[in-house]
């Protein structure tokens, strides 16, 4: 197999990998909230909207430690 052929296979494999990566990530973004402990990413906007120091965090580090 010469170098040009190798490049072509590499190029094709990379493209397939990137397409799977992209759609996989989009699927992950939408499916995460369906799990029992999943987070709805849209709630993360509240990190900016409710950002006073005594506001309740969207997901607290200390909650994590309690588990």
């Amino acid at each position: 197999m010469d170098i040009a052929q190798l490049q072509a296979y590499g190029y094709f494999a990379l493209t397939v990998f990137l397409v799977i990566g992209l759609y996989g990530y989009i699927y992950h973004l939408y499916s995460k909230r369906k799990n029992s402990d999943g987070v709805d990413y849209e709630e993360y906007s509240n990190m900016a909207l409710h950002d006073d120091i005594d506001d309740t965090p969207v997901a607290s580090i200390s909650d994590d430690k309690k588990k």
């Binding site: 973004l29 900016a48 909207l49 950002d51 965090p57």
Partner: protein, 497 residues
């Protein structure tokens, strides 16, 4: 010790807000002088023959670019980081003596570096690499400043109360990592006192002088990988970080689609680093690299517009706020200019368009609709939003802010329209030839034709500078304006008449 409730500590934010304004004035003032020097070359001698060395275009030009990039913009990035970082991570700088010390050290070392840069560039000490003109001792100082910035970012993240990182924090992290990588690799250099000539003799020269480790085409490639990504990680990524925080906060609206913000983030990270080759179209760089630069530039429209449309849609159902608040106006126009320049850039990166656009004023126009309309407007909007919160006072004058908005918008429009016409005229005239291939015009013919457009550009820049002085005055007066309660600071900023 008295038992006070915990508050965010904006000491370092205030320091960097000050340098944002001061260095903005310096950089933009020099820019206006340069614009008029191009229209009226006599101004190169504005302080007389004796001082011509310090007032000519070529000496001032790097001072303009470096003051607005590494002075105004970088200060704005630091000021907003020390504000946004605390708030979205829900942790105060006052909670860590170490982080407070590092923050202040970050500021003062930054100031020392700025002084060294200004003195050395005025003195004509330069490595001659565009946007990387600083000699090695200053490069080392810049690296230290940058490491301190990184320690502050990761230090605050380390003591955070909020488990997840808000989208803006991701963009600030990317700014830190991106610039760190770019700066180190582009500034690989050897001090000439350590070098010797091929015959073994000592080269010598000034102790501060260095030469790049790269040469020829390789040097150009590394330089424009750096140069273009300085735009990416200095003018795009951190400014997107700002708008993702300040627009939702000021309007009280949740981001239209947080998922789209994440997708755009990773898209931008993946694509931007490959686009630098478009600066070297029709050069000695391998053809496939030029093509790759063009293609990645065009695909870059997707993540760029992903963020920009996300911001515009955040205002869905709340468009009356754009009419009512000059602060929202600044951010919506910034977002619109972001869309505009991220469409214009890819168009210029297409090889056939670039054949006309390359080396012309159209490129200068493109840079400036990005930096004046997007970067400048967003940083000023961020400072307008932060000022009432850090000073606990209302913004001094809403009407002054509105006037500033329209004056500067007019300035930006005059700037880029004149540069479009000038650039395309220039590109066409340079290419024009007769049936035997003889060039139809000499260089001076283009200069004569472009004179009116250069004057219009100067006026546009001057209007923007006037607006910037209005901004500085408004912020200054805010420090002694009517005090406000915490309850007035939830979303829309309080403004005096």
């Amino acid at each position: 010790m008295e038992n006070r409730p915990l508050e965010y500590d904006y000491t370092v934010t205030k320091m960097f807000m000050f340098t944002t304004i001061a260095l903005g004035i310096v950089g933009m003032l020099i820019g206006v002088i340069l614009a008029f020097q191009l229209a009226y070359p006599g101004l190169n001698l504005m302080l007389g023959e004796g001082l011509a060395e310090y007032t000519n275009f070529s000496r001032l030009r790097p001072l303009h670019t470096d003051a607005v990039i590494f002075g105004f913009t970088l200060s704005g990035i630091f000021a907003t980081w020390y504000y946004v970082g605390q708030r979205v991570l829900k942790v105060s700088m006052a909670e860590s003596k170490l982080l407070m010390f590092l923050g202040k050290l970050h500021f003062w070392l930054y100031i020392i570096t700025v002084v060294a840069v200004v003195i050395s560039l005025f003195a004509g000490v330069t490595t001659s690499k565009e946007y990387a003109e600083f000699e090695w001792p200053i490069d080392i100082a810049i690296v230290v400043v940058w490491v301190l910035f990184g320690m502050s970012i990761f230090g605050l993240i380390g003591i955070r109360r909020e488990k997840s990182l808000y989208i803006s924090v991701w963009y600030y992290i990317a700014t830190f990592l991106g610039i760190a990588m770019l700066y180190l690799f582009n500034n690989m250099e050897i001090p000439t006192i350590m070098a010797s000539a091929p015959d073994g003799s000592h080269v010598g020269g000034n102790w501060w002088h260095s030469i790049s480790m790269y040469a020829g085409t390789n040097d150009a490639l590394v330089q424009w990988w750096y140069g273009h990504n300085a735009v990416a990680f200095g003018f795009t990524v951190p400014i997107v970080a700002m708008i993702y925080y300040f627009l939702p906060k000021e309007s009280g609206q949740a981001i239209y689609s947080y998922k789209l913000s994440l997708l755009s983030f990773w898209g931008l990270m993946f694509l931007y680093l490959w686009a630098g080759g478009h600066h070297l179209l029709y050069s000695t760089v391998p053809d496939w690299m030029q093509t790759m630069g063009s293609i990645f530039s065009v695909i870059l429209i997707l993540p760029s517009w992903g963020s920009a449309i996300n911001m515009l849609l955040t205002m869905k159902g709340e468009w009356q706020q754009v009419a009512a608040s000059p602060l929202i106006k600044f951010m919506i126009l910034a977002s619109t200019f972001y869309m505009f320049s991220t469409l214009e850039g890819p168009i210029q990166a297409i090889k056939s368009v670039n054949a006309i656009a390359h080396f012309t004023d159209w490129i200068v126009g493109h840079v400036h609709d990005g930096v004046l309309g997007w970067v400048g407007f967003m940083i000023m909007a961020a400072l307008f939003h932060m000022a009432p919160r850090v000073f606990k006072r209302e913004i001094y004058s809403k009407s002054l802010m509105t006037s500033q908005f329209w004056i500067q918008t007019l300035g930006v429009v005059l700037y880029f329209t004149s540069m479009w016409i000038a650039g395309i005229t220039q590109g066409m005239m340079w290419r024009a030839h007769d049936e035997f291939g003889n060039l139809a015009y000499s260089f001076i013919d283009t200069v004569t034709v472009l004179h009116p457009y250069y004057t219009i550009r100067g006026v546009g820049g001057l209007l923007y500078l006037v607006g910037f002085f209005m901004f500085a005055y408004n912020i200054y007066k805010t420090m002694s304006a009517r005090p406000v309660e915490e309850s007035e600071l939830q979303s829309a900023s309080p403004m005096g008449a």
